[in-house]
């Protein structure tokens, strides 16, 4: 059972306090989008073995959404950060590069 630090309230929250929200940093496709782009936005999700960016809500705590960067294989957490961003902050990217030097392109998209 994971522990994630809520970047808003500072609590280290048990998984039972959190609600999962799937892959982070998706770009919304609106009414102008092409079928293929919209289909991808609505249905296609990456499922990597390794570094992953996920949305979590501190549902039974402060109620805020945040994003966790973690390794799906070892469950190492590289960091959590506020959801009000379209890409991971530099310090998270740096931490991932340091911990996973072989990984290419440590961005969220």
């Amino acid at each position: 059972m994971l522990i994630l630090n809520c970047p808003y309230c500072g609590e280290s929250a048990d998984e039972t306090e959190l609600a999962p929200g799937g892959e982070a940093h998706l770009r919304r496709e609106g009414p102008e989008s092409q079928d293929e782009a919209f289909e991808s936005y609505l249905f296609h999700r990456s499922n990597p073995k390794g570094v992953h960016f996920e949305r979590w809500r501190h549902a039974f705590g402060c109620g805020k959404w945040f994003i966790a960067a973690r390794c799906t294989a070892t469950l190492e957490v590289f960091g959590t950060y506020a959801a009000q961003t379209s890409c991971p902050p530099q310090e998270i990217v740096d931490k991932i590069s340091e911990r996973r030097p072989d990984r290419r392109g440590a961005s969220g998209s």
Partner: protein
């Protein structure tokens, strides 16, 4: 025969005899016995029957690894099946029954299957019951169901009277296992200042050390090991930051240092009102698994007969309980440790028949000692058969390297066997720790460089002592000390100044692996050599699985059921893996182990439920008017976590009569509804209108303060998820009503979009559902009732339809919404929750002469259906878009975007062949069955009858005196007047005509009155 010796037994109190019963026989034991030791003391060597062949089985082990000695404990409400006799502490009056036998343990008809074992090989279920097909239902399945299972499920009417609880704890270091290594770890970590919890599954500290390692005669820091254990515990007891718990088993290790432990608080204290079990939910910085090692049986022909026991268990029964496994036991081994059993038995005056040592290499010190003691040692020997039907009477000795040719017969009444030791790596492995093959000790041990990792990426599971493969006392003590120091240091506690404990060093001769005895055994012997005693898996079964292509250990396990019994293969897995590897001609590490999953040993359902039973199982949400409903004898139905009145029957009125009365009263005069459960979410801020324009299909930003608008909310994939009335409170504030079940998830949906997509918009949301009581006053007399309360002008012009106002109603601060879900003149009045009941009673008093009465959810449903209003969950099911329901009027035409808009443009969503909402009127006025399908001509691709629609809501309308229904029908709105056929599950075919879904007052004059 097994017997209690005149002296010995450090766990038992011979001054306190205890009486218990087994299969109806009254037997005696002592305080401190386990059920197993007390049965052995009474020469009860036969204690159960195996699962598949019903073979007679005896006690093999002394702890939680026991596969055979499973009993049904107690009777009635207290009955529990499959309790291990080896871990059941004896108490006065204990009642146990053996299992899996009929009519009795010694006379079991099921044992006939044992004679059929040649035709019941591994996988026989899959092979035998395939054909003929018709036999499955009438022959095979009833047969299997009758003979399957171990023990009996408790009577479903029985109710567990015991209490259970959950316990939460955060510690720095959790140490599982109160043996010498675990105790040493706790001491090192505790002295360094770390917060420590040390748990031990049994009732005693010290683990195997007092029974192993020269029969407990070795020492630590020159102190005899049992004394040393006592001294350590005394020191731990002085540390306020260290807790020690016996009878507490480490059940499972989960991610990020989360551990479940299972404490058997009151099993040994029945009737004293103690808590029964406690489930500990622990978060720990580091976990040290000092779980010891488990001795392996030897696979020799006849090894499952009662009287064959692990050599370590024989020592335990002797030292702890003063019980000898037999009068003339034989010791069979491939390593040094079993010699201790022979020595201890001899020291107690028991006549040891012989030590049969399968090894041929250099004999070590213990073999020398055996000779000096005058014991007979047969080197390089094996056992090729066991005499006796229900217990051991003798063995045939053979050459271990041969095919089983008899060399001599030895008379004996018990066999103490040891095939070596396997570290208990379960907890190490639960959360991802890897194993490595130890080619010197022939076991899997933790790969210390591949531990499970925590959130910070650092290893957090540390194996210590025998659980890490450090089998000698000296090594275990040293390893435990190092593990405790390391755990503490990694968490910032400095304990480096401690001196390392030093224990006696004893050289041991090397183990020689024995996976099958004798090594060249023919099939006739291999099919008598058992690997898994509980599930009756033999060497020949695993070899058959290998021949039939089950090469993966996980497949072979499932095919043969090896290790799938209640003991989860604690004794059988390594032997089975070795046999499989041998059959496939590949090294053991390449075969690997099966996955270790929690719990380590079974835990009770009661402990999982904890105190969340009965009324605490699912707390019920209550409206401010709930007490009143209950006093009226309302009939309730669950709606979300609420219980809402379905109707209010009077006297012996039926529910349908009550519903009809409530509807007619409301339609003709006035009725009251407790609408407090409706979701109420305030959305406030300069961008509130902008947000609502995205959340709703309609345009909310143009709503004027003082006005209300019906809104639809869709998910991003276009499907309708909720509906409700939105009121604009002021320029920056909206109040959004949601469905009763939707309040929480709709609020979460709003926050999701607000926080993660449009985070720069200036809006706040708040879910105020429980802050308000809301009462609907409905019917032609509703305005009059409200006016009688006085304080507000509610005239048609002052408060028109779809308007709202606020003021003091009968002296209570109120918001009044003129909205209608029934088609009648109707008001919904929201007041502070704590004034709800006061207002409710004022309405009842003011409307008395109109016969005002409350109505329930069923009347609400019927009235909305009469009016053609949809209900989320009836007309919608997660595949329905607003356009299907004829709600295009509630979708703003000129809006660029809203959540779900793009999805509603996808080709399938604009397909003219979608099923759309219509009213359904039965030709004969009867009520259509809910959920019934309208059939079409022809068949579908899978041969089923084609359909063209279905009923979504159906009621008897007391207003119209006939059945009314709504449904979704293929191109429905274009086919008004068509007649469709709806076959019911009652065999009847219902005919209904497609009509407008608005059955009542379609002009809307009543709600606008």
């Amino acid at each position: 025969m097994s017997t209690r010796l005149k002296s010995g037994g450090r766990r038992i109190d011979r001054s306190r005899p205890v009486t218990f019963s087994f299969d109806g026989a009254r037997l005696r034991g002592y305080r401190g016995d386990t059920l197993a030791s007390a049965l052995l003391a009474n020469d009860r060597m036969l204690v159960g029957r195996s699962f598949k062949y019903h073979r007679p089985r005896g006690i093999v082990a002394s702890g939680s690894e026991e596969p055979n000695a499973l009993v049904g404990l107690e009777e009635g409400d207290l009955f529990e099946p499959n309790q291990r006799a080896t871990t059941t502490e004896l108490y006065d009056g204990l009642t146990a029954r053996s299992q899996n036998r009929w009519p009795s343990l010694s006379m079991d008809f099921g044992a006939v299957t044992s004679r059929l074992s040649r035709v019941l090989p591994a996988g026989f279920y899959y092979k035998t019951f395939l054909r003929p097909r018709s036999f499955w239902k009438h022959v095979y399945e009833p047969l299997i169901r009758r003979s399957a299972g171990l023990g009996y499920a408790p009577n479903p009417e029985a109710r567990d009277p015991d209490r259970y609880e959950h316990f939460y704890l955060h510690v720095d270091v959790l140490i599982v296992g109160g043996g010498i290594a675990g105790i040493q770890s706790a001491l090192a970590a505790g002295r360094a200042g770390a917060r420590v919890l040390l748990i031990e599954q049994s009732a005693h500290w010290g683990g195997r050390s007092p029974a192993d390692h020269s029969g407990g005669k070795q020492s630590v820091n020159n102190i005899p090991v049992d004394k040393y254990v006592d001294e350590c515990l005394a020191e731990l007891g002085t540390m306020p930051h260290v807790q020690c718990r016996t009878r507490t088993m480490g059940a499972g290790v989960y991610d990020h240092g989360y551990v479940l432990a299972y404490e058997r608080v009151g099993d040994h204290l029945p009737g004293e009102g103690a808590l029964r079990h406690r489930l500990w939910k622990i978060r720990t910085g580091r976990i040290i698994t000092a779980t010891g090692a488990i001795e392996r049986p030897i696979a020799f022909p006849g090894n499952d007969l009662p009287g064959v026991m692990l050599a370590s268990a024989a020592r335990d029964y002797l030292i702890d309980f003063g019980v000898s496994m037999g009068k003339h036991p034989l010791v069979l081994a491939n390593n040094d440790s079993a010699y201790e059993t022979a020595f201890l038995l001899q020291d107690q005056g028991v006549d040891v028949a012989a030590i049969v040592d399968a090894r041929t290499g250099d004999a070590g010190g213990v073999a020398q000692e055996a000779v000096e003691r005058g014991l007979r040692v047969i080197r390089g020997g094996g056992v090729s058969s066991v005499k006796g039907r229900r217990r051991v009477e003798g063995v045939t000795i053979c050459d271990q390297r041969g095919a089983g040719t008899a060399l001599e017969e030895i008379s004996c009444d018990a066999i103490a066997m040891s095939g070596g030791w396997s570290p208990a790596v379960h907890l190490w492995s639960h959360s991802g720790g890897k194993l490595t093959w130890d080619a010197r000790q022939f076991c899997f041990r933790p790969d210390v460089d591949n531990s499970a990792r925590g959130a910070d990426g650092a290893p957090y599971v540390i194996a210590a002592g025998a659980a890490s493969g450090e089998m000698t006392l000296a090594a275990a003590v040293k390893d435990g000390h190092a593990a405790g120091l390391r755990a503490a240091a990694e968490l910032g506690y400095n304990g480096a100044a401690q001196s390392e404990p030093v224990a006696t060093r004893v050289e041991e001769a090397a183990i020689e692996p024995v996976w099958i005895m004798p090594s060249q055994a023919p099939v006739t012997l291999r099919e008598k050599a058992f690997l898994d005693f509980q599930n009756d898996v033999k060497v020949s079964d695993v070899e058959l699985a290998a021949r039939e292509g089950f090469e993966s250990v996980e497949h072979a396990k499932r095919y043969t059921t090896l290790g799938m019994a209640t003991d989860q293969g604690k004794l059988s897995n390594i032997n089975g893996i070795a046999i499989l590897s041998d059959a496939l001609g590949r090294p053991i590490p390449q075969t690997g182990t099966t996955t270790f999953r929690p719990p380590y040993t079974p835990i009770s359902f009661g402990s999982i439920a904890g105190s969340q039973t009965g009324p605490r199982f699912l707390p019920i949400r209550r409206t401010p008017i709930q007490d009143w409903h209950e006093e009226q004898g309302a009939y309730f139905e669950p709606v979300g976590h609420w219980r809402r009145p379905y109707c209010y029957p009077r006297g012996d009125e039926s529910h349908s009569d009550a519903v009809a009365r409530e509807i007619l009263q409301t339609r003709n005069h006035v009725g009251l509804l407790d609408a407090s459960t409706l979701g109420k979410i305030v959305v406030k801020g300069p961008d509130a209108g902008r947000l609502l324009d995205m959340l709703y299909t309609g345009r909310m930003s143009t709503l004027k303060p003082g006005r209300c608008r019906y809104g639809l909310m869709c998910s991003e994939n276009g499907f309708l998820m909720d509906d409700g009335v939105v009121a604009r409170l002021d320029e920056e504030t909206f109040l959004c009503h949601t469905t009763t079940g939707g309040a929480d998830h709709i609020h979460a949906h709003m926050e999701d979009w607000l926080q993660t997509e449009w985070w720069d918009w200036k809006v706040y949301t708040a879910n105020l559902t429980e802050q308000f009581a809301q009462i609907a006053v409905v019917g032609p007399k509703s305005r009059e009732v409200l006016e009688r309360l006085g304080g507000m002008n509610l005239g048609r012009d002052a408060l028109p339809f779809m308007g709202w106002c606020e003021g003091m109603l009968a002296g209570i601060s109120a918001r009044i919404f003129r909205i209608s879900f029934s088609g009648e003149l109707s008001y919904e009045i929201a007041v502070a929750a704590d004034q709800g009941i006061e207002l409710w009673e004022k309405f009842l008093a003011a409307g008395q002469d109109f016969g005002i009465s409350p109505y329930g959810t069923e009347a609400l449903h019927v009235m909305r259906a009469e009016k053609g209003f949809i209900m989320i969950g009836d007309e919608t099911d997660g595949t329905v878009i607003p356009q299907d329901l004829g709600l295009d009027w509630a979708i703003a035409k000129g809006k660029d975007d809203y959540i779900g808009k793009r999805a509603q443009m996808r080709s399938h969503m604009i397909d003219p062949d979608r099923w759309k909402l219509v009213g359904l009127e039965t030709v004969d006025g009867s009520v259509l069955p809910e959920g019934a399908y309208a059939v079409a001509s022809g068949k579908t691709s899978i041969g089923q009858r084609a359909t063209q629609g279905r009923v979504t809501s159906s009621y008897h309308s007391p207003t119209l005196g006939r059945g009314i229904a709504m449904g979704l029908v293929l191109r429905g709105p274009e086919r008004m007047g068509d007649e469709l056929e709806f076959p019911g599950t009652d065999g009847q075919v219902y005919k209904a005509r497609l009509v407008s879904p608005v059955f009542y007052n379609p002009e809307g004059t009543k709600q606008d009155a």
